[in-house]
């Protein structure tokens, strides 16, 4: 009879004890698996997104906050830069492209970001492809919007339909609605698996226009709300701070001249009717000469995405900008690394606790087999009388412990990934970064020949197998020393 059959039969005989022991190991392994996979996928996602952006320029303050806000569309902006700064940067010979971003409001929690249509063609994502409008067209006038794929899916808005934005980057019931400034959906971006999927892009002019109207009604700007908070971002002296150049609205973006005509006034295109739930074809692009190129007539921007003509300019320009008093430059890749160094401390603490749970659970394998040994001594004696050698019985018990623990390992790995699947949807909702719960996790510790070929999950199961075998040594040793004659006679 095959050893595995013997072990399987013995485990099945004590199914409740085996199951509970395996489950306790499984819970610990599930935590280890979920934490490791989550951290690894989150870091990979953040790295991938950050890799699409070479340099981000914004107001003085926290570079991490600047990157989180500009690249990941999280957190609040650091401050604003004068539009002239953007023009100057764009005119620099070393700059391949510079794209301004202006934080707008939100629609059902999805951020409105003012930018230029170049964003969709110039910024290349990790897959080497541009952001690209998959349906419809880029915005060509104020109050036109291009939605990320997730926004379109979640809100159900289709091309040609309109929506009303709420004030601020968070969707709160108290937030003011810009009722008289509805946006028309003119484009939907391709699915990118990045935070861009959760963003609504509008023209720079729209951002300013909408808040001009809000201010006219006595509403508060976002920065005015932010300034009410106790912490003030550090940075340039008050007289140099771009925000302070405007004593009314620091964070939204002023026009120097009247904005482009409102949608509906464009020649050849009336404002589309609001038809909830109905998809219409994208509205024709208005005559740009009539509305002006969106975003060109404002005072300030929140951040600038910069691509340099040569990688050699990167650190030079980074240093140059940071030396100046007006702005800061941040390297997204570096900031993401910093972020995960901070997060890593918590991550390691959680991981350590989970490993301890596994070890404690593994001790329960020892206890379970040890406890069963009293009743199994006679079985061992019978096996010995039938001709089984001590080593055979010893090996069976070690294998039994190892298999119980490995079963826990398998259950734990599956449970950990299931946990990730459950948590994944809400995490994606929060960050816009995709989480593949059933993807293999990379083994990070060990020699290169091991980490190159063995995934984390396999290593964890093998680890629990070894741990279980070690825990089985004591009961197996006791079984090894069983007095056959005495236990046969009992």
């Amino acid at each position: 009879m095959h050893t595995l059959t013997v072990i399987y039969r013995n485990l099945r005989q004590r199914w409740l004890s085996t199951g509970l022991t395996a489950l306790s190991i499984g819970l610990g392994v599930a935590l280890v698996t979920a934490i490791t996979a989550l951290r690894q996928q989150a870091q990979a996602n953040f790295d991938n997104v950050a890799a699409s952006y070479e340099l981000v320029v914004g107001a003085k303050g926290s570079p991490l906050q600047l990157v989180l806000n500009t690249v990941f569309h999280l957190d609040v902006p650091v401050g604003n830069l004068p539009y002239s700064y953007y023009r100057k940067l764009k005119a620099d010979d070393r700059v391949a492209y510079a794209i301004p971003l202006a934080l707008g409001d939100n629609y059902r929690g999805f951020r409105l970001v003012g930018t230029e249509p170049e964003y969709f063609t110039l910024v290349r994502l990790k897959d080497g492809q541009p952001v690209a409008v998959a349906q419809g067209r880029p915005f060509a006038a104020d109050y036109e919007a291009v939605m990320g794929s997730v926004v379109a899916r979640e809100t159900g808005l289709a091309l040609g339909q309109t929506f009303v934005a709420r004030h601020g980057v968070e969707d709160t019931a108290a937030a003011e609605e810009h009722e008289d400034a509805p946006f028309t959906v003119v484009g939907i971006l391709r699915e990118t698996g990045t935070p861009l999927d959760r963003v609504i892009f509008i023209s720079l002019g729209s951002v300013d226009e909408i808040h001009q109207e809000s201010r006219d009604k006595g509403g508060k700007s976002l920065l005015e709300q932010l300034e009410a908070l106790p912490a003030e971002p550090s940075g340039s002296p008050p007289e140099d701070r771009p925000e302070d150049r405007n004593d009314h609205d620091h964070h939204h973006h002023h026009r120097k001249k009247p904005a482009a005509p409102p949608v509906g006034d464009t020649p050849g295109g009336d404002k589309p009717a609001v038809l909830p739930g109905q998809t219409t074809s994208a509205p024709a692009a208005p005559n740009q000469a009539a509305v002006g190129v969106p975003g060109q007539a404002i005072d300030e921007v929140t951040a600038i995405i910069v691509k340099l003509r040569s990688p050699g300019y990167l650190f030079l320009m980074h240093r140059e900008i940071n030396k100046g008093k007006d702005a800061q430059a941040a390297l997204p890749g570096v900031e993401v690394q910093k972020l995960f160094t901070i997060v890593g401390t918590v991550d390691r603490a959680l991981l350590l606790m989970s490993v301890l749970v596994v070890v404690v659970a593994a001790v329960s394998v020892l206890v379970a087999i040890y406890n069963s040994l009293a009743e199994r001594r006679r079985e061992v004696a019978v096996l010995r009388a039938l001709g089984a050698h001590r080593r055979t019985v010893f090996g069976w018990l070690v294998w039994e412990a190892a298999m119980t623990a490995a079963l826990g390992g398998v259950v734990g790995v599956l449970l950990g990934h299931a946990l990730l699947a459950v948590a994944g949807s809400s995490l994606k909702f929060l960050s816009g970064l995709p989480l593949d719960p059933w993807r293999w996790t990379r083994l990070e510790v060990g020699p290169a020949w091991l980490t190159a070929y063995v995934p984390f999950e396999v290593a964890v199961i093998a680890g629990t197998l070894v741990l279980g075998a070690v825990m089985g040594l004591l009961p197996a040793a006791l079984a090894y020393r069983t007095n056959v004659a005495r236990h046969l006679s009992e």
Partner: protein, 223 residues
Amino acid sequence: MSLLQIRQLRVQYPGPDGEPPTPVLDIPDWGIAAGEQVALVGASGSGKTTLLHVVAGIVLPDSGEVRLGDTDITRLDEASRDRFRAANIGYIFQQVHLLPAFTALENVLLGMTFADNRAGTAEALALLESVGLRERARYFPRQLSAGQQQRVGIARALANRPRLVLADEPTSALDARHRDAVIDLMQRLCQDIGAALIVVTHDEAVARRFPTTIRLADINHVH
């Protein structure tokens, strides 16, 4: 020609806390022939089971020789003794001791495993058929009656076609009808394969069913 030959056998148990050891067996010379069937009778605590353990190589004597065929079991190392026992000696226990995790068939197959007997399932099923339990081959011990369990125990003891079968009070848990049936079955099957049979019992009714009855007191000098 003797199959089992015991000479100058001495076994004693260690005394408690420095007390002198307690002698259990002192058998100058005893043996049985191949295919012989013997009832070994003695009072409780007289050393019957110990003698079976010594013959099976489970317990090593303090001195003496236990020869099965050409092999002196006492001179084998433990691993060799285990292998020798698995291949040459069948053991039937007083309380059957079927392994509860395994079916009747698997209990028989387990007996084969330790002797590297590759005969496999067909042979094991044939053995179960010979004890009238082929249709219960997939039953677990808890699903069998005491008599049926003992019959599986007999099939397991015979799985490797041993030269010697040792049975330690095999019918003590059975009523008279089943007792006789089990004894008859053991005798018939051992005869079929040419195995010698030693049945230890304190039951005179069992002893009477054997052509030869040995009283342990007659061969053992420890009283």
